[in-house]
């Protein structure tokens, strides 16, 4: 069991201000300077909230240093093990994720998003906020460096419980390596929250090498059709076989 402190409201507020003023402090992972500037900015030392009493093996997070986008699936297990007992209700706690991104594993965010780091200085504050600090709903699941790994693991674990053909690693890899489909799913929380349906979507996706469904256009078409179907029929009562049939029907034809 490791204990660490999350930032409080004043701490997060100060960090967000610093992201606007000096985004390079985050990108360069200069945690000493960041702590100092954070305290100066807030003009108080009281920037830290409660200690987290969850099982967090911080040493596992060290393995995250040096990862890129292709490593998401490999980095999910260490994050899930580090925050093994974190309930979903805590998965949107931006105080926690900001503290981890900025001070616990400060280099990971920069490494992960270096390929999309804007050259335009004016766009850097938004870039830093999105990947270091924002932790609500879509931001947490899609953009926040560590939170998104935790949610990736959470949603793939939930789906894997229902999958009859693939294990948790298969579904995790399918989600992490085909982000266009995953992000389209996240944009439709009424579908993403139905784990059995998510399992069926990825079973169909993995069957027969349906790689074309990872293109945004096809993924969007399929999920829109599923959304339409869900308005008329209760998908929650269906078993996996019936759900797979529904997903197959929603699958758009592959254009040559």
């Amino acid at each position: 069991m490791n204990k660490y402190r999350i930032v409080n409201d004043d701490g997060l507020f100060a960090l967000k201000n610093l992201a606007d003023e000096t985004p390079h402090l985050f990108i360069e992972a200069d945690t000493t300077a960041l702590r100092k500037r954070m305290t100066e900015r807030a003009q108080t030392d009281n920037l830290w909230g409660e200690y987290m009493d969850i099982r967090a093996d911080l040493s596992r997070l060290n393995t995250l240093s040096g990862g890129g986008p292709q490593s998401d699936a490999a980095f999910v297990p260490p994050v899930r093990q580090a925050f093994g007992h974190l309930p979903p209700a805590e998965g949107l706690n931006d105080y926690r994720w900001a503290a981890i991104n900025c001070f616990v594993i400060p280099k990971y965010a920069q490494t992960r998003w270096s390929h999309v780091q804007p050259n335009d200085e004016k766009r850097l504050p938004a870039f830093v906020r999105r990947h270091w600090l924002d932790g609500h709903l879509i931001s947490a699941r899609q953009d926040n460096s560590i939170a998104r790994l935790w949610w990736l693991g959470e949603l793939s674990d939930r789906a894997a419980k229902y999958s009859e053909r693939y294990d948790a690693d298969d579904i995790l890899n399918a989600m992490a390596n085909n982000v266009n489909l995953y992000h389209q799913l996240l944009a439709r929380p009424n579908l993403a929250s139905r784990s059995k349906l998510v399992a069926a979507v990825y079973e169909v996706f993995l069957e027969d090498g349906n790689d074309y469904l990872s293109a945004t256009r096809y993924a969007s078409e399929m999920l829109s059709a599923l959304n339409y179907t869900a308005a008329d029929i209760s998908l929650d009562f269906m078993d996996m076989s019936e759900l797979r049939d529904i997903v197959e029907e929603a699958k758009p034809p592959k254009e040559l």
Partner: protein, 279 residues
């Protein structure tokens, strides 16, 4: 009634703002309670439509509630026992956060023959085949918010008081905070009360500001180290003290904002006035 097969199911659905069943009615009675680590939900269905009633009795269709939480990406459906008009659900609170939606509906659990004698004449009184898992009735969803453990809830009460009009500057509100044993009363004068009503777009923010100020004020009343002998064990002071200890925050203002879950920095300044002795 304009029947459009592209937009509606090809069979009648009992639902609000629909003329599918001109004489039919579907309402639900709902209650929810947070106990220990669980959310307990009970929903009783009152369906005033003989055709659907018969199918429920026969067990062909089931009363269901869908519990949905967008924050935790959680959906779960609970159904009644065959023939029953009541659905009970217990959900682990760790799976929920913030706004919760509960959607009551009636779903076919097998293919059924649905007579449409009581439906809109557009259906011609024919008997229609409805496939399983189709929705036969839906009611307006229930919405509520779950509070994280330790959050102060239903402590404050906004009361309309009758003191004389006071002179207030623009943007200034007058209220009295009165910490009682079991709850904290916030009294406002008519001018303040009316001001709340006028700021429609910022009502929630204003109310949060009042609550926050009241909470900060109330925190000053409690002895953080030793409970008062007269304190009831289930009173607000015990709750506040315990929550403040859990948060490990020394500042009353910060403790208050965490308890309310409201961003203090967004709330701005608020002027608190002590009640005069004759009020």
């Amino acid at each position: 009634m304009k029947f459009n097969p592209n937009n509606y199911a090809p069979y009648p659905i009992l639902r609000p703002n629909s003329s599918d069943y001109p004489e039919g009615n579907f309402t639900t009675t709902f209650s929810q309670e947070q106990r220990d680590n669980d959310l307990h939900v009970d929903c009783a269905f009152d369906i005033d439509e003989p055709t659907i009633q018969e199918h429920i009795k026969a067990g062909d269709v089931a009363c269901c509630i869908l519990i949905y939480c967008s924050a935790t990406c959680y959906t779960e459906v609970f159904r009644s026992s065959p023939g029953d008009l009541k659905v009970s659900a217990v959900v682990y609170l760790d799976n929920l956060k913030g706004n919760i939606e509960v959607h009551p509906s009636v779903i076919s659990v097998k293919d059924i023959a649905l007579p449409t004698k009581t439906a809109h004449p557009e259906y011609g009184g024919a008997t229609m085949v409805v496939a399983k898992y189709k929705q036969l009735a839906s009611s307006v969803p229930w919405l509520f918010t779950v509070k994280p453990p330790g959050t102060i809830e239903s402590v404050f009460r906004l009361e309309r008081d009758n003191p004389e009009q006071s002179k207030l500057e623009d943007g200034e509100f007058d209220f009295i905070v009165e910490p009682l044993e079991r709850h904290i009363v916030i009294k406002s004068n008519p001018k303040t009360y009316d001001a709340f009503q006028e700021i429609r777009s910022e009502t929630a923010l204003t109310r949060a500001t009042v609550y926050l100020s009241a909470l900060i004020y109330a925190l000053g009343f409690i002895n953080m180290d030793e409970p008062d002998e007269n304190e009831p064990p289930d009173g607000w002071a015990v709750t506040l003290r315990e929550r403040k200890r859990q948060l490990r925050i020394e500042s009353d203002a910060l403790a208050a904002q965490r308890m309310l879950g409201a961003p203090f920095s967004c709330l701005g300044e608020f002027t608190h006035r002590e009640a005069s002795s004759d009020e």
